[in-house]
């Protein structure tokens, strides 16, 4: 784990407002996402973050950081 | 006191932010000229609204030029008038007061919004440049029917707007052979004079009158109707002045059936 499970959950939670408002922001540029597309997008981002988090750390710096958590 | 450099910088930035906000608001007041609801319109006794010079008769009034005044009374759970029509390109001043509890007069999707507190008169001046249709709603809780309190504001193209009112006085039944008249009153709510044509259609017949009315004036029109030409039976009539219409039915009956009931 690159970050603690608690921190991972927090990151995912904090992501929610960004996913929700991403749609609004895109619409100013004329791109209209449907609710489903937003959900898929959000899911993809969460998946990417989870993958990043659980990927075995490939450097010593990461291992050191995950210690205190 | 020992304050960290970053914190000092943040203190300065926070002050800049605050002053910037105040500056923006001040710009809004001076630049685009946004005025707040004020105490200019004074107070009013809610029990005397009906006799009040302004609110005794609610609705749109023409002040001259492109300036209008709209007097509105809010009460649980409606506005009087509930439908308001003003022309595009006009400057409209709303005066709103409440007969009972606190309401609001909020034009949906715009920055036209005021609380309506009983005992006080809200005054706000708004420029309507484009035609459009806006809902009006009450956004302050005013009792169980609060959510049903609504109105409609229509901004019509300038050339479709007038404050002409048409009312008619016509018999329902007339004896064949007798002369009868259909009377109409055309009033002009605008300050400018009105020149138009009134048209009465009854059966196959058509009568026309040119009307000229001064600002804030009215004209009485009398149309003599030839009952012989109509013949016995029911005759629908329509009186038209610009796009205002009044209609009714005149029955021509034989002399023995009944009298000339002019109601």
């Amino acid at each position: 784990m690159r970050i603690s499970k608690g921190a991972l959950l927090v990151v995912i939670a904090v992501l929610v407002p960004f996913v929700v408002e991403f749609r609004t922001a895109l619409s100013w540029f004329g791109i209209e996402l449907s609710v489903l597309e937003s959900l898929v997008l959000g899911g993809a981002v969460v998946l990417a973050i989870v993958l990043w988090a659980v990927w075995p750390p490939n450097g010593n710096a990461e291992a050191e950081l995950s210690g205190p958590n | 006191m020992n304050i960290h450099t970053y914190e000092k910088a943040w203190l300065v930035a926070a002050m800049v932010l605050i002053v910037g906000f105040i500056a923006t608001i001040t710009y809004g007041a001076v630049g685009p000229g946004i005025a707040m609801i004020d105490d200019d319109a004074g107070s009013i006794d809610p029990n005397e609204i009906s006799d009040h010079e302004r609110f005794g008769e609610t609705g749109v009034e023409h002040l001259g030029g492109n300036e209008y005044e709209v007097n509105v009374v809010a009460q649980a759970w409606s506005y009087s008038p509930s439908e308001i029509e003003v022309p595009a390109g006009s400057e409209v001043t709303f005066y709103v007061t409440s007969r009972d509890v606190t309401h609001s007069f909020t034009v949906v999707g715009t920055n036209v919004n005021t609380m309506v507190v009983p005992g006080q008169i809200s005054e706000m001046t708004v420029q309507f440049d484009e035609p459009g249709e806006y809902g009006i709603l009450c956004n302050e809780y005013c009792g169980e029917g609060h959510h049903t309190m609504e109105g409609l504001l229509t901004v019509v193209p300038e050339d479709e707007f007038d404050l002409t009112e048409l009312s008619t006085d016509a018999p329902r039944e007339v004896e064949a052979g007798n002369e009868t008249t259909i009377n109409a009153t055309v009033s002009n709510g605008m300050q400018d004079g009105l020149e138009t044509t009134a048209t009465l259609e009854i059966g196959e017949q058509q009568y026309e009158r040119d009307v000229t009315i001064d600002g804030e004036g009215s004209a009485e029109l009398t149309f003599d109707v030839d009952t012989d030409a109509l013949g016995e039976g029911e005759h629908d009539w329509t009186l038209t002045v610009d796009d205002h219409e009044e209609s009714g039915t005149l029955s021509v009956v034989s002399g023995t059936d009944g009298g000339d009931t002019n109601e």
Binding site: I3, S4, G6, A7, A13, V16, P17, R23, S27, E32, V35, E64, L65, G67, P68 | M1, N2, I3, E7, W10, A14, M15, I18, F21, I22, G28, A29, I34, M36, D38, D39, S43, P46, A76, S82, D100, V101, T102, S104, T106, V108, G109, T110, N113, M115, V117, G119, S122, E123, G135, C138, N139, Y141, C142, G143, E144, G145, H147, E150, L152
Partner: protein, 586 residues
């Protein structure tokens, strides 16, 4: 001083130190949780009704539910928690108990009686057997009239809170005699300054109720001046939001740094912040009346300027608190410009709840700035935007901090370990996510004119036109958020109940709060001069309010122009409805 005190109590819980006070605090917390449970559930009923997802109450009853939701959550939940936490803060930081525990119980019971009176009078709106009526929402704007019991209950509750304040002052005076040369410990300083502005602001609502509304509801006086009582309400109504916010601030200042593993960055600045709140909380209430007739634009501008400067203490708090967290993270081994964030104890629900509450408050700060901006108020006034705003402030910054704090405090005052930390962590995260959905949609819908306080915002003559998406999507977001919040609420209550029955009392943390990097000795002694700050606060109030109040009384009369009371219920006043119908008929 602080360090020695903390080490002397290092392994003891609050219950060990102050068993008698712990009982009152526990009672206050549970009163608070009961209000939260009922009020929260009613919130779900409203959210589902308004958004047309599920309607099982009469639209008229919606307003009874809304009144109960507002009063129970904004007043009862917050203030019961506050009196508990302030009693903890004063006794813990002074390291002495209250002067007379019977007095402490007396004010607590008085507040409970007040709450019950208010609750029952509101309940009368839906239960026919109770002959009361109080569908006046938590703002009770005259001439909407409630049953006298409603006003009496509010007065009892507020007077109870005054006595609570007196209790803290007495405790402090007693400590002062024994420690004449000490600086006031920070938590006590926070409690006392908050109490002072509470006294100042509640004078307005007390005046409004005792002189005008209560005599009027009893029929002793015939009428009231609606603008006057409304202005007196908001004289109190803005400071009250800071009153319920201050315990959350206290938690962020004295608990968050400790939980992060560090120390409070600056004690002197914390004092400055609380002094600023004492000075500026009250003379700003007119910013709730930007769109009121009868108040001159100049007074609104003055209120706006004061309000904008009231941002300063909150902005300073943001820096101090985050810096304290960063200090903790770095002591725990965090490195880098932002990498230290990973070293914070995110698994700890107490920490995470408070940190997320603080994050939400940063967002709320922004919508609050919009609300404060005088003319931009035309855009958002009384729209759902405002509801979105205060669900971020009182509904998250305060409520989530309180819930997170409860995970620490309930073990402290009961001597029982928290039942489940995992459930607690899930709960604070779920609350955050639920509120994100609900509040975000509310803010957005306010921008296209969706009104607040409206049972069924669906109109005959027009439709709302959102800039993005549809009204249906907005409603779905609100309903989803409300459901998530309700689940989070249930998780919280379950954890609290099971903690109370928990047999495990091992490994309880000691009753400590954060030390400071820069202590009180770094701050000028004048900061502790409460008399001086109170005097300045009074002067500011006089400056801010004398002229507007004088002009309101001058134009509308002290008791108003014979305005009778209205209890606008469809069943009780058919004549009024008829009149309305007649009015709209051509």
């Amino acid at each position: 001083m602080e360090v020695t005190r903390m080490s002397s109590t290092a392994s003891r819980t609050y219950l060990d130190q102050f068993p008698a006070e712990a009982k009152v605090i526990k009672a206050a917390f549970w009163s608070s949780f009961m209000a939260l449970a009922i009020g929260g559930l009613l919130g779900l009923v409203q959210a589902l009704h308004r958004t047309d997802v599920l309607r099982f109450i009469d639209p008229a009853d919606y307003y009874t539910v809304l009144t109960a939701h507002g009063v129970l959550l904004a007043i009862t939940f917050t203030i019961f928690f506050l009196v508990g936490i302030f009693t903890w803060a004063v006794t813990t930081s002074l390291d002495r108990g209250v002067v007379d525990i019977r007095f402490t119980w007396a004010w607590y019971i008085m507040m409970v009686v007040g709450t019950i009176l208010v609750g029952v009078s509101i309940l009368g709106g839906v239960v026919d057997a109770i002959p009361t009526y109080a569908d006046v929402l938590f703002t009770f704007y005259a001439p909407l009239q409630a049953h006298p019991a409603f006003y009496v209950g509010l007065v009892l509750f507020v007077v109870g809170s005054w006595l609570a304040g007196a209790d803290w002052f007495r405790t402090w005076w007693a400590w002062r005699k024994e420690n004449p040369d000490e600086r006031i410990p920070l938590p006590t300083f926070m409690a006392l300054t908050t109490t002072l502005f509470w006294y100042l602001c509640t004078l307005g609502v007390a005046l409004s109720i005792l002189v005008f509304l209560l005599p009027w509801s009893l029929g002793i006086v015939d009428s009231v001046n609606p603008l006057l009582t409304r202005t007196l309400f908001w004289y109190f109504g803005h400071a009250v939001v800071y009153f319920w916010l201050m315990p959350a601030y206290m938690m962020w200042y004295i608990m968050l740094p400790k939980l992060s593993g560090g120390k409070l960055f600056s004690d002197p600045l914390a004092r400055v912040v609380f002094v600023l709140f004492l000075l500026l909380s009250t003379p700003v209430g007119i910013h709730h009346q930007y769109l009121d007739p009868g108040i001159a634009e100049g007074y609104k501008f003055i209120a706006m300027t004061n309000t904008m400067f009231l941002l300063l203490p909150s902005l300073l708090t943001a820096f101090t608190v985050v810096a304290s967290m960063e200090h903790g993270a770095r002591q725990r081994g965090g490195t880098g410009y932002l990498g230290w964030l990973k070293a914070l104890p995110w698994r700890d629900p107490v920490f995470t709840g408070m940190a997320l509450a603080g994050l939400m408050f940063a967002a709320a700060g922004f919508s609050g700035m919009i609300n404060a901006g005088m003319n931009i108020n035309y855009l958002v006034h009384n729209s759902w935007w405002v509801v979105g705003h205060f669900h971020l402030t009182v509904g998250t910054a305060v409520a989530l901090t309180f819930m997170a704090a409860a995970y620490w405090f309930i073990p402290q005052v009961t001597g029982k370990a928290l039942w489940s930390r995992q459930l607690a962590l899930g709960q604070v995260l779920l609350w955050f996510v639920g509120m994100t959905f609900m509040s975000n949609a509310m803010h957005r819908s306010g921008l296209f004119g969706m009104p607040r306080r409206t049972a069924e915002p669906q109109y005959q003559g027009f439709n709302f036109e959102p800039a993005v998406g549809t009204v249906g999507e907005i409603n779905a977001q609100v309903a989803l958020g409300a459901v998530l919040l309700t689940v989070a609420l249930a998780m919280f209550l379950l954890n609290m109940v099971l903690t109370s029955f928990n047999d495990d009392s091992d490994s309880l943390p000691a009753n400590t709060y954060a030390g400071t990097l820069s202590g009180p000795e770094d701050s000028p002694a004048v900061l502790d001069n409460l008399k001086l700050w109170t005097a300045i606060a009074v002067v500011l109030v006089i400056v801010g309010y004398t002229l507007p109040l004088a002009s309101i009384v001058d134009s509308g009369g002290l008791f108003g122009p014979d305005i009778s009371g209205f209890q606008l219920a469809i069943e009780t006043d058919p004549a009024l409805v008829l009149e309305s119908v007649r009015e709209v008929m051509p």
